[in-house]
């Protein structure tokens, strides 16, 4: 499990570097998702399975979908689309495929050692986390729900473009 943990850390570090240095927003996003999955693996090897599952389901699953939609809507890469076509050779896929394959191999290896010898360490399971969450951190839960509600209202208020911003441009187009 030690080697798995350190390999996951290495994958996360490489992916973070690639996110920061990426030219294409979509590539950066995919590397970011890979980094989140690698961190989930590290969480699992550190005996935090509930945090690992939340990392995969909520972070890599839900929050990153928001990013993907916004990148698609923005169409940021419009000047570089011809360059993109040049980049999309088969050699481009080697690094992402290698990183993803490393994660897959690590996951398989971790599961096989889990079946044969079991975790050699204390695992803090979802039950203990839930008990702690709803006994010691009840106020935190309430505040978190309020924060989510505020975020929902803010996004609902900010995201649609008001007519006062849209119409002048369209009118000037007609004229």
């Amino acid at each position: 499990m030690t080697a798995v943990c350190y390999a996951g850390c290495a994958v996360a570090l490489v992916c973070a570097l690639l996110v920061v240095t990426a030219r294409n927003a979509m590539h950066a996003l995919l590397y970011l998702i890979l980094m989140l999955l690698a961190l989930a693996l590290v969480f699992f090897t550190l005996g935090a399975p509930f945090a690992a599952v939340l990392q995969v389901v909520i972070y890599a699953g839900a929050i990153m979908v928001l990013f993907v939609f916004v990148v698609m809507m923005l169409n940021v890469a419009e000047p570089g689309q011809r360059r993109e076509r040049l980049w999309l050779t088969s050699a481009v896929g080697i690094i992402p495929l290698g990183l993803a394959a490393t994660l897959l191999a690590l996951t398989i290896f971790a599961l096989s050692s889990l079946w044969s010898e079991g975790l050699a360490m204390s695992v803090v399971g979802p039950k203990e986390v839930g008990v702690s969450l709803y006994r010691d951190y009840v106020l935190g839960i309430e505040i978190a729900s309020l924060l989510l509600l505020a975020g929902l209202i803010a996004a609902f208020h900010l995201a649609p473009v008001p007519r006062s911003e849209v119409e002048p441009a369209e009118e000037s187009d007609h004229e």
Partner: protein
């Protein structure tokens, strides 16, 4: 007791620190607001990793509780931040953080 099943807590903590630094450098270097938000996600995850390592070191569930709170904060931040980026793109037709400097007063 600083060893977690053969994994040294200091090693993973230094990985968290390195992730945090990478995210911080990304925020400072990149000007595209989407990359700034992504670098922010890297920094948030570095903090979450530090919490999980500390929780594993003392075998307490509090670290994972903190990860849940971090997830909530990150979800709210991403929702508001991305809707702001969308509005900026509609108004200025760019997501370059340097071009949006008309709020000088």
């Amino acid at each position: 007791m600083s060893e977690i099943a053969g994994v040294s807590a200091g090693g993973v903590l230094s990985v968290a620190a390195a992730l945090f630094i990478i995210g911080m450098v990304g925020i400072m270097v990149r000007r595209d607001l989407l990359y700034v938000l992504m670098s922010l996600e890297i920094m948030i995850n570095a903090a979450a990793l530090a919490f999980v390592v500390a929780a594993a070191r003392w075998r307490q569930p509090d670290g994972q509780v903190m990860v849940i709170f971090i997830l909530v904060a990150a979800a709210a931040e991403v929702g508001v931040g991305l809707s702001l980026v969308l509005r900026l793109y509609h108004r200025f037709a760019t997501v370059d953080g340097d071009r949006i400097s008309s709020l000088k007063g």
